[in-house]
Symmetry: C2
Subunit: 180 residues, 2 copies
């Protein structure tokens, strides 16, 4: 399937409300536990999404439109969530994510991107040449990868509690597929 900007916008606009409905005021058992050492809880994932809103998606889109592939993107700060989450509650993070996403989508819509703009190229520091279209599709798929992760991390907390049903629950067979 080809990338469709309207479909991307539809999905990006819904993620904050979906995470809010799923996570707000849930017991911390679900939101603060992770899958073991050096893994992320849902709380940390929301911090990571905030970090992406600030430093990744729209800044990279602007770089492509301004500089094309003449300058590589800043590498994505995969520890940006540490700064974003310090001293905050999950409720604050959910609000912050929703606000940043709303502002970013407003800016993206205001660009009135035409099909030829979506073909413009940028330089990824390790992947090489990418297009604006691929960047925006990745933004949406990145939301889904973290929804996939959150559901897996939460299910992990009930691995023992479900008893013999564990073999029927696909999410408990998923061992994560993080980026290198």
């Amino acid at each position: 399937m080809e990338h469709n900007l309207d479909h991307t916008l539809s999905l990006l606009a819904r993620t904050p409300a979906a995470l809010n409905a799923l996570l707000r005021d849930l017991p911390e058992t679900w939101t603060l536990r992770n899958e073991g050492e050096n893994t992320w809880s849902p709380f940390v994932v929301v911090g990571h999404l905030i970090s992406g809103e600030r430093t990744d998606w729209m800044p990279r889109a602007r770089m492509i439109l301004q500089f094309g592939d003449s300058r590589p993107f800043e590498p994505f700060d995969r520890l940006g969530h540490v700064r974003e989450t310090q001293g905050k509650s999950l409720g604050q993070l959910l609000d912050e994510f929703a606000g940043l996403r709303l502002a970013n989508l407003r800016e993206l819509r205001a660009l009135n991107l035409r099909p030829e703009d979506l073909k413009r190229r940028g330089q990824h520091p390790s992947l090489g040449t990418v297009t604006l279209s691929q960047l925006l599709a990745t933004w949406a798929a990145h939301d889904l990868t973290h929804l996939h992760q959150i559901s897996r991390v939460m299910a992990h907390q009930y691995r023992e509690a479900v008893g013999p049903w564990s073999r029927y629950l696909g999410v408990l067979q998923c061992h994560g597929h993080s980026a290198p």
Copy 2:
């Protein structure tokens, strides 16, 4: 982690709103496409969740409380979604799921289950002896397995669109882990 009924109820109560926020009025590209022959779209998954509300979770809980392990559960009808989805829109399914879940949780709360009730045993047609506690924990984990599936099915639609980023997106490395 042990099973905690309050934590289970908290999660079960949120799933309908989370799916509603994610899926309602999304373009059909996201909601009606699947991962290929004999796989499920998000639309079908919501039908399957409705079928579980009607015929699986609370009926099995009632059987455990009434008959213990003297009578096996009815096998879960994994094609129940066909009947549930016929001629309906996704919006109708989301409403129906929310209504059924609300009624089921009301009934579950009204049972005022004590710790000793949660230890009561039932007979699963293929897994053998299970407890009421395991059944209720599985109900919650089953929501998560299908949220995990929905995010994977949706991300699959952008497998090509993300270009070289596909290797960084964990959800695109997940090949599903359905029950046999």
